[in-house]
């Protein structure tokens, strides 16, 4: 999707099961300055619910998702 911004940080969580993708994006978000766009690419089906839910619990902006060529899904978030 072209209307999603470019990621400053990319995390590859392919093959990692819940809750690891959320742990990984939370750790990256903690280390990043406000306004950082993080893309986390997951194969875990729970991420579709858990990444937006984590954003809401933590006050992080959820920007959206897109499917990669290999079928994995990338979720984009922006730190505040």
């Amino acid at each position: 999707m072209s209307d999603l911004p470019r990621a400053d940080v990319r995390l590859n969580e392919r093959g990692h099961r819940c809750p690891m993708p959320v742990v990984s994006v939370a750790r990256a978000a903690k280390a990043a300055p406000p306004g950082t766009v993080i893309a986390v690419t997951c194969t875990d089906p729970g991420a579709a619910s858990d990444i937006p839910a984590w954003c809401e619990m933590r006050g992080v902006d959820y920007l959206g998702s897109h499917t990669e060529a290999d079928g994995a899904i990338s979720y984009l978030v922006r730190t505040r």
Binding site: R17, P45, W54
Partner: protein, 372 residues
Amino acid sequence: MTGPHPPPGFLDSASGQPLNPAALEAWQVAAEAGWADPVRLYREGRRAALLADSAREAVGARIGARPDEVHLVADGCLPALLRGWLAHSPGRVVCSAVEHSSVLGVADAAPLGASIIGVDRVGRIDGMAYDAALPGASIAIIQSANHEVGTRQPVEEIARACSAVGVPLLVDAGVTIGREAVPEGWSMLVGRAATWGGPPGVALVAIRRHLHAPPFDLPRAGLPAALAAARGLEWADDHRDADALRARILTDRIRASLAARVPDIALLGDEDRVGYLTALSCLFVDGEALVLGLDRAGYAISSGSSCVSDLRRPSHVLMAMGALTQGNVRVSLPFGVSDETIEGFVETFPRVIADVRAMLDVDDLTTKVTDE
């Protein structure tokens, strides 16, 4: 007759619970007096047939149905019922996105497809979208309350909408029968005896005569199971008001206590929920480790997290709600649960969560809460 005494720490009645005293007694009676084939014309057969009739009568009286509308069958026959209806009356199915997965499976394969209506963050259907999908449908299906988060659905409003456009309504009351009043307005009603402390593996199917439904080929429950289910329902129905009041207080206490003491948890479902069942999810928690950790500490609960399911997929209910699926816990109180079990659970849970999070080394990511 004293109530059932579930094992200490047992908090998964939505999956099964000890038989209540009336169910247990009826099982014994029917095993002794009702072993014969009820279609035979000799005395033993007639006696078995009489017992089977009395079971249907007892259930009918409690759910507001005529005895000939009531069937006591093997559990898990909801897909067969639905397929039977669609074979007789091919057409579109209307249901919610949080129905049992077996219902969604049949709905997806319905001849003219399915209108699967989404739910909000607490799991309640979009009533306007549901009503709008009704005209021309073959059947509408709705749970009285959800099996994973307990949220009630506006069944009686849906029933009025169905009636206005002449679409039969199948109410899946698997979570509520015997623990809450049966909602009005159903055309078909299904429930599970385990919910009311009847024997496992038995289901109730009631079909209104005015539907002129075809005879469905549903496997009948054996007589001891059917009679135990019927007497068990009477017992539960007589005790359900007191049970529901107490269970609601106890699940409210669990929610309030854990919200105050466990960092980063999401309470799931709505205030308008079935009183004995509640659910929550915990950030940075592996659901399987949580279930096993609680089991080691003496507490039996179920989970909708992906790592706990056979298919390694998170619960479709939690996904439809957009809820956190990791570290998911469903607590469902059996009849006769003790105060000690609840107190022990709220004491133990924060410690187990802390242990599971320590294994993942996420202390630095977790919100700090000040201990009371």
